[in-house]
Symmetry: C2
DNA sequence: TCCTTGACTATCCACAGTGGACAGTGTACC
DNA sequence: GGTACACTGTCCACTGTGGATAGTCAAGGA
């Protein structure tokens, strides 16, 4: 949130939440509940300060010098380990009891979703290059594309890995 | 948890938590706190039932027919969307204010960690093939390998994407 | 045989993250 | 002037995280 505030300037909680979706939504999540709770904490710590209340009692928060220092310190400390949480892998891992036809349906839907995402990342990167052309931003999207490429490759390998799912010729087809 | 119980049979909470680490730890997390809380819920729902209390007041839980039905229903419903949460991408995204030398250190550490993980997945898959040879299990590990390959490829592209980080010749080197 | 040590098992707590409901308040448009 | 809708903030119940704690058993040494 400090990083976001430092880039987009004074913003109210709702707008901050929307900005988070756009700017880091591809690799991080930030719900509104969380934004408001955290803004309160950050204000108590002196990392952000609020301007006067505006329409609908909204307050625009901006990052303070103290907050900027905290942000830099946090960046310097380096990232935590990531946790990949892939529900589809649970379905696969415990999927021996699932009807092959249903498993194929699930994988097809999964494939479609990720194909779309992959194309989206491609367009997004092109857009970014032709507008702000911020290398840091582009680097994150590039990761998204490579991730989706890995997903696509995995899907191509699956029929070979799971012959019982893909070779079955059931009456239901 | 129902999936785990159906595969490993009657287990107490602690052992279930350890099994989760081994069996699905590469793509899901399950803390002990969570296991005990959830076991309680599952017992209330009639999805698991506990045997008599053993040593250290431990109880071995096993899945009931009702639980097995719930598991199958859950599998059939299909997986939720995944959320990738990559702290390293936050560091990159807001990393313009970070000293290039420090950024390179961070990326080097990240690279080492993932190189190790990639090798680990390779060995794990070989192990699996030579022991249980369960295709569903192997399919999940294969995803891990492809994910790590994507990470590696991204790291190779980064110097080109972030010239300001990698081309700087600072006195500190 | 008794004691010590360490592992095992369960519980608890504070906090972060999630997703949705809700209510008050502007604004734009009819 | 009125109405519908979007905006903003608040709240709640639940899930997930990480670490602390305490009781209990087992193994091995004195």
């Amino acid at each position: 949130m400090l990083g976001l505030l430092s880039q987009i300037g004074p913003t109210n909680g709702n707008a901050l939440s929307r900005s988070a979706d756009v700017l880091i939504g591809d690799f991080w999540t930030l719900t509104r509940s969380q934004v408001y709770r955290e803004l309160q904490t950050l204000e108590d710590l002196g990392y952000v300060k609020a301007g006067p209340a505006g329409a609908r009692s909204s307050r625009d928060f901006s990052i303070t010098d103290k907050g900027a220092a905290a942000l830099k310190e946090w960046l310097t400390a380096g990232p935590a380990d990531e946790v990949i949480r892939m529900p589809i892998l649970l379905t696969i891992r415990f999927g021996a009891g699932l009807a092959p036809a249903r498993m194929r349906e699930i994988l097809t839907a999964f494939s479609r979703r990720h194909q779309a995402k992959r194309e989206f990342y491609g367009e997004l990167e092109a857009d970014m290059r032709s507008t702000r052309n911020d290398p840091y931003e582009i680097a994150t999207v590039r990761f998204g594309r490579l991730f989706e490429a890995a997903v696509a490759e995995w899907l191509l390998e699956l029929p070979e890995l799971l012959p019982t799912v893909f070779n079955e010729r059931s009456a239901e087809e």
